[in-house]
Amino acid sequence: MYVFDTLTHRLKRGCETMAYPHGPAPALPDRHGGALRVDAAKCADGCTACVPVCPTEAITHPPGQPMALDLGRCIFCSACVEICPVKAITHTDDHRMAVRSRADLVLGAPGAEELRLASALDEKLRRLFGRSLRLRQVSAGGCAACEADVNVLGTIGWDLGRFGIQFVASPRHADGLLITGPVTKSMELALMKGWNAVPEPKIVIAVGACAIAGGPFVGHPEVLNGAEALLPVDLFIPGCPPHPLTILDGLLRLLDRLDGEKSSTS
């Protein structure tokens, strides 16, 4: 009876894996807002309304310079968007946020109103990892949300395996680390042991505001303010946590697997 039930249910449900990236991306929740855009030219002289409302001190506006918003630190609470009197900071509703360089996350300067999205790995690494990437995930102070939204990519809706990307149990089987959390001092030894066990060539992916810059814990003496304190990071995926679609976009962008979509602006 049970086998029959299961089979009929499966037939009824059909394939539950989303069409993306070969079809349209699923919509972000309408209250999500996506990446931010900063038009610092709109800022009134001396206005610093957004600076003190930012919980992670991601916004600076020194006199005589354009306002700068660091999306690496940002936890996307929208407090700055809501308080800005001239709409200099706006939602783009764009899920794409992954970048290759830390500086590409800083918005505000002329020409840097939006994120400079990640380019693919170089030819040599792309040939090695482009069709088969094995990652060891290390949570180093992560709150379980980034971990959950990385995990969800393995479920039937997202099916990360179809891109040849897989999370493995041993760092010796991995091509790199995917790091979450602000990197606590108490995880430094374990993280470095994990890293040293990954064979060359290898990459590092930092997922979430914590792993990029310390997130809500930035500046705490108990944390190292992100993965870059210890390791060279190849891909930064902002968010608190990043939406699974943002993480998937980042991974595919890195491997140049987004057919038909411009994957590089740098």
């Binding site: 209250r31 705490h220 108990e222």
Partner: protein
């Protein structure tokens, strides 16, 4: 003052610090012990700096009476008689007091660090060791095989059988409580929301209740309603994920695959409320940041009903399969007596037959007006912990469908007045793992002199250690998943 007893208060109430009864420390420990013997349960037990010395504070819950009780010691600077000897539920609290303030709980049977760092790793201290020619030791972690937080498990085994499991945490320590002191700061809410990031609503609601209580106000009814809804959505997502993870660990893939997806569907319902799948930014002191209008309510209800039908189906496959049931029955058993002694909370306690649920025992906010039946199962094993989750999925679902029928309406946010000075406030919420307890003590300026968070995992990790006694080590994964505790909520 010494003849009187602990002062009573309700969940979400606050009292002037000066009205909390105090005793010399030895009498205070005796008095706390008497409260626990009368049927009390230790919610929180911590130190507060007082000049160069430290006062101990105990918050005790009388679940059947729907009351909390608070007491404190006079300042003490070196030692106190251990409460753990009579009441094992105090053991971690006393280790923490020793770690944070250097006070020695005299007679504590296993005094060692809780989460303190030592260079590039936690100060684990010595592990309990069993000796003998047949005995071997197994070390697991801090990095585990899956995409999961770090922690260390040390097993003493006789062949396949686990004689003793010791759990060493601290890898996730981010300095949350230390940073909260002196606040509220601008990062405070974000730190509360990520204290245990898959229980954001439970922690944020407890914090908001404290801020409102310290300000002498209540959140608008509409906001209390939205918080209650979000708390059950959080429970649905996590319980569904746990059922799927348990199915995966016994290689029962239909339920595992289905629940992985349905969990995401529930997270997306929270995102429908506030844009974030984990409820970040929804709960604020004074109310909620996002409203739930009629149109959004009907969208939420339609999607909820469809996901509830899906999870009902996936759970039915699971419970119908004798192969699943036989893997779970009589594995990882914790008795009701053990559960009471070590102070288990949440589904882990209810799976030992204890009726223990903040929504029912200490209703605050919307739960004063609407409740779901408490789900209990008596057998204390992995089966019971899975069963309680399954029942709670049904009951949370029915509660949500019921509550979404009508909205109280009105404002969603009114900024609370600044916190009252020199005041102690206590708030409990029933997160999906169990009781979340926040205690705030303000200073003369109304800033946090002390902010104490007790995540349910702080009580419950010991339950996992006991569940493993006498089990095959190969059953560790299903025992662990059946608790699914938070590492960061413990490490803070």
């Amino acid at each position: 003052m010494s003849a009187s007893s602990f002062v009573l208060l309700g969940n979400g109430a606050s009292l002037p610090w000066s009205t909390i009864p105090e005793w010399p420390v030895a009498s205070f420990i005796r008095e706390t012990s008497a409260q626990l013997e009368r049927g009390g349960r230790l919610c929180s037990f911590f130190g507060v700096k007082d000049g160069a010395a430290v006062r101990l504070v105990a918050i005790v819950a009388f679940d059947a009476d729907n009351l909390l009780a608070a007491g404190r010691s006079e300042p003490v600077d070196d030692r106190f008689p251990s409460l753990t000897l009579l009441h094992p539920q105090a053991h971690l609290f006393e280790r923490e007091i020793w770690e944070q303030f250097g006070l020695i709980p005299e007679g504590h049977p296993w005094l060692k660090p809780v989460r303190r760092g030592a260079g590039t790793a936690p100060a684990n201290g010595e592990f309990f060791r069993v000796d003998g020619p047949e005995i071997h030791e197994v070390a697991v972690g801090p990095i585990h095989a899956g995409i999961i937080e770090p922690g260390h498990f040390r097993f003493q085994c006789d062949g396949e059988e686990v004689i003793h499991l010791e759990i060493a945490l601290g890898y996730q320590h981010r300095g949350v409580e230390r940073a909260l002191a002196g606040g509220p700061h601008r990062a405070t809410l974000a730190q509360i929301e990520t204290a245990s990031g898959d229980a954001t609503i439970a922690h944020a609601t407890a914090h908001a209740m404290l801020m409102e209580s310290l300000g002498g106000v209540e959140a608008p009814l509409q906001a209390q309603w939205i918080r209650a809804l979000a708390l059950e959505l959080e429970r649905l997502a996590n319980h569904t994920g746990d059922i799927g993870a348990l199915a995966n660990d016994v290689a029962f893939l239909p339920t595992s695959s289905a629940c992985g997806k349905i969990r995401g569907d529930f997270l997306n319902l929270t995102a429908l409320l506030c844009g974030n799948r984990f409820g970040r930014g929804l709960v604020r002191p004074g109310g909620c940041h996002y409203d739930l209008d009629t149109e959004r309510t009907s969208t939420l209800l339609a999607r909820l009903k469809s996901s509830l039908a899906d999870v009902e189906q996936a759970a039915a496959w699971f419970w119908d399969a004798a192969s699943v049931r036989s893997r779970f029955e009589s594995v990882g058993t914790v008795s009701a007596q053990q559960a009471a002694e070590i102070g288990l909370v949440g589904p882990a306690a209810r799976a030992c037959g204890l009726v223990r649920d903040v929504r029912y025992d200490h209703p605050a906010g919307w739960h004063r007006l609407a409740q779901a039946p408490v789900a209990v199962w008596p057998s204390g094993d992995v089966f019971a912990r899975a069963r309680v989750r399954s029942l709670e999925i049904q009951r949370s679902g029915a509660f949500l469908v019921d509550q979404l029928a009508a909205t109280p309406g009105g404002a969603i946010h009114e900024a609370p007045p600044p916190p009252a000075p020199d005041t102690l406030a206590v708030a409990l919420t029933e997160g999906w793992r169990g009781e979340v307890c926040h205690v705030a003590l303000t200073d003369a300026a109304g800033r946090f002199r002390r902010y104490k968070i007790v995540d349910p995992s702080f009580h419950n990790w010991m339950g996992l250690a006991l569940a493993l006694r006498g089990q095959a080590i190969s059953d560790f994964p299903i025992c662990n998943k059946s608790f699914n505790l938070s590492y960061c909520g413990f490490d803070l």
